[in-house]
C-alpha cells in the first residue's frame, strides 16, 4: 500500500490506538463514566472506518471478524511487515 493507502492505514491505527489505550485505562478505572462515553463514541467511529477500509482493501481480521468477497481475499498482500 502506498499514497492514499498509507493515510487510510494510519487513520485506522490512530483510532484503534485511542480505543486500546482507553481500554487499558478502563481496566483499572471501570467506573469512570466520562471515559466510557468516550469509548462508545470511538467504537462507533471505528466501526464506520473499518467498514470503509475493508470495502477498499479487503478483510482486516481473520476468523469471521471480517467479510470477504469471492475469491477469498484474506490471503492477499500486503501483510503488515510488507507495508511501506
Amino acid at each position: 500500500m502506498n499514497g492514499q493507502g498509507d493515510n487510510d492505514v494510519e487513520r485506522l491505527q490512530a483510532i484503534q490506538f485511542s480505543i486500546l489505550d482507553l481500554n487499558l485505562y478502563l481496566d483499572t478505572h471501570p467506573a469512570d463514566k466520562k471515559a466510557m462515553m468516550d469509548f462508545d463514541a470511538l467504537m462507533k467511529q471505528f466501526e464506520m472506518e473499518k467498514r470503509n477500509f475493508e470495502s477498499k482493501y479487503g478483510p482486516l481480521a481473520n476468523y469471521g471478524y471480517s467479510p470477504s468477497q469471492y475469491p477469498w481475499q484474506w490471503i492477499n498482500a500486503p501483510w503488515p511487515w510488507e507495508m511501506r
Partner: protein
C-alpha cells in the same frame, strides 16, 4: 482465543539498509526485557490472579506486547530485506545470517536465544506485579539504549512510541498493584 488484525499497531518506516542495527533491534525481539518476554510473562501470570481488574490488565497488556513483538520483527526485517552481502559481512548481523538468513529470530543483540528463564510466575500477585513493573522500566531503559544506537529517523520514531507504551504499562500495573494490596488487606490472609 486471539483474533489477528492485518495491520501493525503503529507504522514502521525504515529509512536505511542497516544489518548492524537490525541485530541490535533483536534485543527487543528475543532478549530478557523484550516484547516476546513481556507478552508471554503477562499472559502466563493470569491464571491464579485474584482480581478481575488484574486478569484484564494482564490479558490486554500481554496482547499489546505481541503487537509490539510484530513491530520489532518488522523493523529488523525492513533493515535487512534488501541488504546486499557486502553490507552484511563483517557486521554483528553476520552470525544471525549464518543460521537464519534475513528473517528475524528471537535472540538478543548478542545472539543468545530466547528462553522462558527470562520470565517468572510466583502465584503471588504482589511479587508478580512488582516483576511486571520492573520489566516495563527495564524495557523503557532498553529502548533508550536502542534510540542512542540508531541514527535512522524512521526507526527512532517507532522506538519512541514503544518507549512511551512502557511508561503507560508501568502506570497501569502500579494501579493494579494498589488494588491487589487493598483487596489482600481486606481479606487478611497470611
Amino acid at each position: 482465543m486471539w483474533i489477528y488484525q492485518k495491520t501493525l499497531q503503529y507504522p514502521v518506516k525504515v529509512d536505511t539498509i542497516n544489518p548492524q542495527l537490525a541485530q541490535m533491534m533483536l534485543e527487543q525481539f528475543g532478549g530478557p526485557d523484550g516484547e516476546l518476554s513481556a507478552g508471554i510473562r503477562y499472559l502466563t501470570q493470569r491464571y491464579y490472579m485474584p482480581l478481575n481488574e488484574a486478569k484484564a490488565v494482564l490479558t490486554d497488556i500481554g496482547t499489546e506486547e505481541l503487537a509490539h513483538w510484530e513491530i520489532i520483527g518488522t523493523i529488523a526485517w525492513k533493515l535487512v530485506k534488501n541488504a546486499p552481502m557486502e553490507k552484511i559481512r563483517g557486521t554483528a548481523f553476520e552470525g544471525h545470517f549464518a543460521n537464519c538468513g534475513r528473517n528475524p529470530f528471537p535472540h538478543n543483540a548478542a545472539g543468545v536465544p530466547w528462553t522462558a528463564g527470562y520470565i517468572a510466575v510466583k502465584s503471588d500477585p504482589v511479587a508478580d506485579l512488582h516483576e511486571d513493573m520492573a520489566a516495563e522500566e527495564k524495557a523503557r531503559a532498553t529502548y533508550e539504549h536502542l534510540i542512542q544506537l540508531s541514527e535512522d529517523r524512521g526507526v527512532n520514531d517507532t522506538l519512541s512510541f514503544l518507549r512511551e507504551r512502557e511508561i503507560v504499562h508501568f502506570q497501569r500495573f502500579g494501579e493494579t498493584l494498589d488494588k491487589v494490596q487493598e483487596y489482600m488487606s481486606r481479606k487478611k490472609y497470611y
